[in-house]
Subunit: 113 residues, 2 copies
Amino acid sequence: MDVHEITPCCSPVLTEPLTEADAEELAAAFKVVADPVRLRLLSLIAQAGEICSCDLVAPIGKSQPTISHHMSVLADSGLVHREKRGKWAWYSVVPERLSVLRDALGGVPVARS
Amino acid sequence: MDVHEITPCCSPVLTEPLTEADAEELAAAFKVVADPVRLRLLSLIAQAGEICSCDLVAPIGKSQPTISHHMSVLADSGLVHREKRGKWAWYSVVPERLSVLRDALGGVPVARS
DNA sequence: TCGTCACATCGACGAATATCAATATTGACT
DNA sequence: AGTCAATATTGATATTCGTCGATGTGACGA
């Protein structure tokens, strides 16, 4: 339950036909990063390497429940890793998970004719 | 109006701090690909190289207005190019636009252990 | 000019979701 | 046990968005 399997998940969008199920799964993955607050959270976590939830509320400027909600979305998707230490929750990014999204957008560098 | 500028748009999420405005713009870009129908449309177009709108409705299994709506979203975002020939609309993907999204997800390749 | 075909737009509806106040839960410390 | 601090959950609300039927628009051919 802590870390999802880091499977390739889906075939690249541009090279292979996309089944309806694969499209659904990929779209769900992209939805996670299709939110400005979650992108800024990802950015903050990535630069800190590891950061406490308590240091995320103020920079973003949203309420604590809102930040908690977004962190759950990020953690459930496997994009970040959550580790509870005492009362605090520490987060770090899972770069392999980001690669899955990147690779889906056409693994190969732009083919030039 | 036909093709958006292919600027880098935003700084990579993981390496540089993300301003609120950049996050908003990036999130909007990801929202476009965060839909299963649009992903399948992209896949169909990419494999055909160039395809008529009339050949998109049946494979997706949605109504014609729905396909038209999604194609407008894709075209407005610059991910696809629309060219009208007579009564038909022909679409092709703009790979550079996909690269922008890919690069935003952390320029550097994942270190593999 | 009239009819038809391809596509776009409009209006409406339902589902998903971002947000916050209030409350619950959990851990640490005395 | 009791209290406080950090985080999670709940309930409610407003907004966004995907969808489709109906209609509009523009192009081609008889």
